[in-house]
């Protein structure tokens, strides 16, 4: 009897975990769909949308430029020393451009936006939840999903690809800076190889990734904030834990999604 219990309970625990995970995934998906559909419910919330584009997009420009430049520079540096062994430093342009456009651009942009905007999204919505502001919206017959989540989803869907493009371009010039300006590679080679190796399908793939990351990040971050009150911890503690888990979960999911999408896009 005792053996049966010890045998049963870990399996049951695994089963419970799997069920919990599946349920969580389902509720995340429904949360996103619900928020997404409400974007199109008139009257459109241009003001809030604009505010969020400003917050997610404009305020991230500097940090994206910075990280993009240094990512490109380090790619140029590493790529140069790796390629110089084979005497094919001319391929630096394509190495930098392809790794930026396909992988580094979308992924690092997403992770930077998580750090900059995603965490504060969770904290802001979480605080609204614990200070009853979301309940207040409901008493005013304002749909909090539409009011809070939809503009963020719409803005993220716009901002992620644009910031990714910015990251790519800045990174490309960063690679040029370290490869050509510092290490003396012919700039014409660099850009010619970058141009000839990157194809439209790579760029489209990069944008598909960045849009997928936008969905993942904004859903996880808004969800964590929106359901802060269902945590065991209350108040400020709950918000801080929500924020932490939003950042961790969305970073992990971005990398997982990246792998899955790469297998499809290659």
């Amino acid at each position: 009897m005792a053996i049966l219990v010890t045998l049963k309970s870990p399996i049951a625990a695994i089963g419970r975990e799997v069920l919990d995970f599946t349920q969580h995934l389902g509720s995340l998906f429904l949360f996103f769909m619900w928020g997404f559909v409400l974007i199109f419910q008139p009257p459109f919330q241009f003001d809030k949308f604009r505010q969020q584009v400003y917050f997610i997009g404009m305020k991230s420009v500097f940090v994206i430029c910075l990280t993009g430049a240094f990512t490109g520079m380090v790619l140029g540096l590493q790529g140069y020393y790796a390629l110089v062994r084979y005497g094919s430093t001319a391929a630096l342009g394509s190495a930098v451009a392809l790794s930026l456009v396909r992988e580094m651009g979308p992924v690092l942009t997403a992770i930077m936006i998580i750090a900059r905007a995603g965490s504060s999204m969770t904290a802001e919505i979480g605080i609204m939840r614990i200070s009853e502001q979301i309940d207040a919206l409901r008493t005013m017959d304002i749909n909090p999903m539409r009011f809070l989540v939809s503009p963020r989803i719409a803005a993220a869907l716009i901002c992620f690809p644009l910031l990714t493009a910015l990251f790519d371009v800045v990174g490309l010039y960063g690679g040029y800076l370290s490869g050509s300006a510092l290490l003396g590679l012919n700039p014409a080679f660099y850009f010619a190889r970058a141009q000839s190796s990157v194809e439209m399908s790579d760029i489209i793939g990069g944008f598909i990734k960045s849009i997928a990351f936008a969905v993942v990040v904004v859903t996880v971050c808004c969800f964590q904030g929106y359901y802060t009150h269902t945590r065991a911890e209350f108040g400020a503690k709950g918000v801080s834990i929500s924020t932490t888990s939003a950042v961790v979960i969305s970073c992990v999911l971005v990398l997982v999604t990246d792998y899955v999408l790469t297998t499809f896009l290659l």
Partner: protein
């Protein structure tokens, strides 16, 4: 005041983003917006190993077009490559198309070597003379294992 600064910021951001997207798609992705006029030619190769759609088509090192599609001819088991060549380029029917590599490990491209024939190729025509891709690995192994004169 505050509202208008937000608007300005959003405007700057969107403009910047669109410029970057434009740069990526037009310069790197090489989408022709206004575009030159092209016509198509087909060529059959024994092997196009390493050639990709979008690869350059050159004459004497000058880019004159792109590889539009690569497919297998199911009947003869050879590669069917469709090229698009700028309309201003006229080619005789004895042109030779060969798959070349830029450098030892570089990208593959197609080199057209025009002949002297007076008969011109029309759009959709087939280039008869082709040279397949050089199999560098096979070449190297031949040198390495001394079976060159086989």
């Amino acid at each position: 005041m505050k509202q208008s600064s937000v608007e300005l910021g959003v405007g700057v951001f969107v403009l910047l983003g669109i410029i970057c997207v434009g740069y990526l798609t037009l310069r790197l992705g090489e989408i022709e917006v206004l575009g030159d006029k092209y016509y198509q030619l087909n060529a059959r190769f024994k092997s196009v190993s390493g050639l990709k759609v979008g690869a350059q088509v050159e004459i004497a090192g000058v880019q004159v077009g792109q590889v539009e599609s690569i497919a297998l001819d199911p009947k003869d088991q050879v590669a069917m490559v469709r090229l698009k060549v700028k309309a201003v380029i006229v080619l005789g029917d004895d042109v030779i198309a060969s798959v070349k590599t830029a450098g030892l490990l570089g990208d593959k491209y197609i080199l057209l070597s025009p002949g002297g024939s007076g008969k011109l190729l029309k759009p959709g025509d087939m280039i008869i003379e082709t040279e397949p891709a050089l199999d560098i690995e096979a070449l190297i192994s031949k040198y390495a294992f001394g079976k060159v004169n086989e």
